[in-house]
């Protein structure tokens, strides 16, 4: 089987989470993604734990690894004009340019969309930022929490009697890359039909607003307290099970579910009934009766879940520093397109392959530029 995005060439200047997650998806589907970094300004993702053997090492971060699978990695010092010239050659090679720098950075390099599109109207550029490239807050510098705060996610999260809650993972760094991936794929389709490229300007705030739109509509129709685990259309909740901090989630969709659950519990109080049972066993028992129920999994439960192992969710790859490790794959399968998850690049690992092989720069010139800190 071939890969669906084979032949798509991407110059990826993005770093940390929001940009790299989008290009990881594209790379796992077969796009050739060249990740541009610099040892002089490390991708903060490379300094994010956990690390191989607990030791800080820019090539040993598991966080970086899961965010950058299947990519090629080069180092270019964009602070040196000669580095910028190499970057321009890479952009000339690419179908798609991806960046998530602060506003104005790509303009200062002469790599902004307006400049590139004058020469190559077919080029596609993706920019990802906290609040977008336009609008009164386009200069905002922040991190994942900013998007949660500005989208309403934090205010809507938590229990009805608690202050805003900041979920302990950057959900904006999860959703925005998916919107970015959709944008790039749609732009590629558009280009096939029209020959014209696009600049896709993804704000981390707006995708979060989109996935909260049902709650936002409900709040406009009938404002009320935060819902916690409640649903407007399903009777559902989380109940204690045997052991410390062990729980099961149960959803009663209709009268048939209610009757079936009542038959299981013998009319006992549901929380008292679940409290004496193992969370997995009770979830399976309820589920076998046709009622949606799942144990509340922790990280260990998820990592060891046979459903994921059998489905190929985690793919074992060999990495020269991390060793053998499990990397997440896109959550889809195709009848005749293959997903291949490869290792993430070490810093500058593919300099020669890309600069010489893709861009045609002579080996002696590459060596000289590397020695002078331009390709570093």
């Amino acid at each position: 089987m071939s890969q669906a995005l084979a032949g798509v060439k991407i110059a990826d200047f993005s770093w940390v989470g929001a940009g790299p997650r989008a290009t990881k998806d594209l790379a796992d589907h077969g796009a050739t993604v060249v990740k541009v970094e610099s040892a002089k300004r490390l991708d903060l993702g490379r300094m994010s734990p956990p690390f191989k053997d607990g030791k800080r090492n820019p090539n040993g971060s598991l966080f970086f690894a899961i965010t950058n699978t299947s990519k090629l990695g080069v180092t270019i010092n964009l602070g040196d004009p000669r580095g910028v010239e190499i970057a321009k050659k890479l952009v000339d090679w690419a179908d798609v340019v991806v960046e998530n720098f602060g506003k104005g950075f790509m303009e200062r390099l002469g790599l902004d969309y307006a400049t590139l599109a004058k020469e190559r109207p077919e080029i596609i550029m993706l920019s990802v930022s906290v609040a977008g490239r336009t609008g009164p807050m386009s200069d905002l510098r922040g991190y994942g929490n900013s998007a949660a705060a500005l989208s309403g996610l934090a205010a809507l999260s938590g229990w009805p009697d608690t202050p805003p809650h900041m979920p302990p993972f950057a959900y904006g760094d999860v959703i925005a890359p998916m919107f970015a991936t959709m944008g790039v794929l749609a732009a590629l389709e558009h280009r096939r039909v029209t020959g014209q490229g696009r600049h896709i300007d993804v704000s981390q705030v707006e995708p979060l607003v989109h996935v909260l739109s049902d709650v936002l509509v409900q709040e406009q129709l009938a404002p009320g307290p935060k819902r916690g685990n409640a649903s407007p259309s399903i009777q559902q909740g989380v109940y204690p099970t045997r052991g410390h901090d062990q729980w099961v989630a149960i959803a009663i969709r209709d009268e048939a579910d209610a009757k079936a659950l009542d038959a299981l519990t013998g009319g006992a109080d549901l929380a008292a009934w679940t409290a004496t049972q193992d969370k997995h066993a009770v979830a399976n028992r309820i589920s076998a009766a046709g009622i949606p129920a799942e144990a509340v999994f922790d990280g260990r439960d998820v990592f060891t879940d046979p459903e994921l192992a059998e489905g190929g969710h985690y793919v074992r790859v060999d990495h020269s520093v991390i060793g053998s490790c499990e990397m997440p794959a896109p959550p889809a399968s195709f009848s005749r397109s293959e997903i291949k998850v490869g290792p993430p690049p070490n810093l500058g690992e593919h300099n020669r392959e890309v600069f010489e092989g893709f861009l045609g720069i002579p080996a002696d010139e590459i060596a000289a530029l590397a020695a002078e800190g331009v390709l570093a």
Partner: protein, 336 residues
């Protein structure tokens, strides 16, 4: 719009319905064959831009690029095999709770139960209280987004040889993908995360993320970002409220390695300063000086945001006889 030439038939009734809505937002013509019996507010997330099927569904499918289907059983003439025989160029995407053909394929599921199994709920909420889901229906949203991505990915493959294909998306795997840190942390460190309220745990200590301002809430944290720390302390110093933070050399310490009691002391200084300022002032200072602070927007703030309005995010829709604001474009597009 980018997908104005794309025709989609949406056979979903609940799970998967968001996929068609997303393609509609990018210009695709999406015809839905039945919306089920859902609550109006839940419909709001996926109804936008879709048309209701009229005429022969099979005629529509013969001319479609993409079909989306959910886990529900379908009529014999609508199976993937039957549709592929009619239209070999068709991309047929099934969005399912679990992987097709595996042990859990018939396991009943809702958004809440998938969120529970994904490992996300165990870390969301407060210590001493039950696990908590995220607002809205995030497992369903994540699966819908992945369904749209699968369809667009298959369009690229089709461009190479003109052939369609089937794709299957797992809502469970979509939600697990969002839980990017917990399974990995277990695998590598052997640690299981739990609920820490609004504390961000990194390294040996936890830092606060939510603070009271004069007129509401803001988010900010003591983190290992030296420019942000210096910018914030400088503003506090202007008000003579920096206290011992004025003497911290941010370049020589790692916040993640600081003892918890020291962080509590520092956070008390920050707390006192933030309580003297309103959200608008703090936002202005943060934007001007790079403090890394954001005001926490209530729903009314989000709907009234000048920034989001200037970005053209909102569109109006009729829901239950009322005009409401709903997000429109997925992102901003600039043509050459």
């Amino acid at each position: 719009m980018m997908l104005s030439h794309i025709k989609v038939v949406d056979l979903t009734r609940d799970l998967g319905a968001y996929a068609g809505a997303l393609l509609a937002r990018m210009g695709a013509t999406v015809v839905t064959a039945g919306a089920g019996d859902r609550d109006a507010s839940e419909l709001a997330m996926d109804q936008f831009g879709k048309q209701i099927a009229s005429g022969s569904l099979l005629d529509l499918i013969d001319n479609a690029h993409i079909v989306f289907r959910g886990p529900e059983a379908c009529a014999p003439e609508l199976t993937p095999e039957a549709l592929s025989a009619r239209n070999p160029r068709l991309i047929d995407v099934a969005i399912l709770p679990f992987d097709k053909g595996r042990a859990n394929q018939a396991r009943p599921a809702t958004d809440l139960t998938i969120m529970a199994r994904s490992g996300l709920m165990t870390i969301v909420g407060d210590p001493g209280r039950p696990p908590l889901t995220l607002p809205g229906r995030q497992a369903w949203a994540l699966a819908g987004i992945q369904g749209a991505i699968a369809a667009l990915t298959a369009l690229n493959a089709r461009a190479a040889d003109g052939r369609g294909q089937q794709a299957w998306v797992s809502a469970y795997r979509s939600a697990v993908l969002a839980n990017y840190r917990e399974p990995l942390t277990w695998d590598r460190v052997g640690k299981v995360g739990t609920r820490t309220g609004n504390l961000l745990i990194r390294g040996k200590s936890g830092v606060r993320q939510v603070w009271a301002a004069k007129d509401g809430w803001v988010t900010w944290a003591l983190v290992d970002n030296q420019p942000m720390m210096r910018a914030t302390v400088a503003r506090m110093a202007e008000d003579n409220m920096a206290g011992e933070l004025a003497d911290v050399d941010w370049d020589s310490i790692l916040v993640a390695d600081m003892p918890q009691d020291v962080l509590h002391r520092w956070e008390a200084v920050v707390e006192a300063w933030l309580a003297t300022r309103d959200r608008a002032t703090l936002t202005r200072l943060s934007n001007q000086y790079g403090m890394g602070l954001s005001a926490i927007s209530e729903v009314s703030d989000v709907l009234a945001s000048d920034h989001l309005a200037a970005r053209g995010l909102w569109e109006e829709a009729e829901v239950e006889g009322r005009t409401v604001k709903m997000p429109g474009p997925l992102f901003r597009e600039v043509a050459p």
